[in-house]
């Protein structure tokens, strides 16, 4: 038993020590955290705001807020998940500012049948991404995910791309676990359906 406990202590997440040092006034330790997560925070902010300037501002504001509130950070969640939650809130604030009067919510349940029943049933060509140049592919992926409702694209991004668990995604977005699961399934199916337009196997004679 004792050996197991010792192993667990040794396997502490490296962020725990960095956060402790930053709290004690070590600015370098905080800089390491900034370097580690700035790209992820930028991506998440872009997916929500869909605006480059706003997303850059969110990176700055989210890290500054995290630094200010470091004393309030409870070690019971991961630093990264806590930071993502701050960034999601900052991003939603920016989005609301730009879309005054329009409803902006991740919690909104989107009634849509799109993608719930797969329509495009053609198989894709093997490694379909290889038929496109890097920039062209990035544009297709961007356009496709941008077309999804906010709640869907953020759940997909956090859960499938940034590697948060279903529970962490739910906690971060203030959604229930079943709500995350239902949005994830619909997001995955809608993306698949939309990407099929580009990636499906061409029939003979088709351009």
């Amino acid at each position: 038993m004792e050996t197991i406990q010792v192993t667990e202590e040794n396997e502490q997440h490296p962020d725990v020590a960095l956060v402790a040092s930053a709290r004690a006034g070590d600015v370098q330790a905080f800089e390491t955290l900034v370097n580690k997560y700035d790209r992820q925070i930028f991506r998440i902010a872009q997916h929500i705001t869909q605006n480059r300037e706003d997303a850059q501002d969110v990176v700055q504001d989210a890290f500054l807020k995290a630094y200010e509130k470091l004393d309030q950070f409870q070690g019971n969640s991961k630093f990264y998940t806590w930071l993502v939650r701050i960034a999601v809130n900052e991003s939603l604030m920016r989005l609301r500012k730009r879309r005054t009067g329009k409803m902006v919510s991740i919690d909104e349940d989107i009634e849509t049948d799109e993608g719930s029943v797969p329509r495009d049933l053609a198989d894709w060509s093997p490694n379909p991404e290889q038929n496109f140049g890097q920039a062209e592919l990035a544009e297709i992926l961007r356009k496709t995910i941008q077309g999804l409702p906010l709640g869907f694209r953020v759940v997909f991004q956090l859960r499938d791309v940034e590697g948060l668990s279903t529970e962490e995604t739910a906690e971060t977005l203030g959604l229930s676990v079943p709500a995350v699961k239902s949005r994830l399934l619909r997001a995955r199916l809608q993306l698949r359906e939309r990407l099929s337009r580009y990636f499906r196997k061409k029939k003979a004679g088709e351009k």
Binding site: V27, F30, E31, V34, N35, D38, R39, F42, R43, Q46, H47, A55, Q56, V59, Q60, F63, L64, Y67, E68, V117, P118, L121, A122, D123, W124, P128, E129, L137, A138, L141, R142, I145, F156, D160, V161, K181, L184, L185, R188, L189, L191, R192, L195, S196, F199
Partner: protein, 78 residues
């Protein structure tokens, strides 16, 4: 198992969180249903493509500028 029952369990299958019994039922359905097989494979591929390609890149020059701004304010106590 019907196609809609299969579809309802698609995420669990992709995320590898189904019981051995359910997995056997899913596999059985797959072996006789080309449509569901295509849906499963192309959904897996969708996730893989989004994971392995940077959709929004943060250029190094912008990263450096943002980091410098953040750190300058942290050093001054925010």
């Amino acid at each position: 198992m019907t196609c809609s029952e299969f579809l309802a369990l698609l995420d669990e299958l992709i995320d590898d969180s189904v019981s051995t019994e359910t997995r056997t039922q899913l596999r059985e359905h797959l072996s006789g249903c080309e449509h569901c097989e295509v849906t499963l494979n192309t959904t897996r591929k969708t996730i893989e493509i989004y994971r392995s390609h940077e959709v929004y890149e943060l250029p190094n020059t912008v990263r450096d500028r943002l980091r410098a701004a953040i750190m300058a304010r942290c050093k001054n106590g925010c």
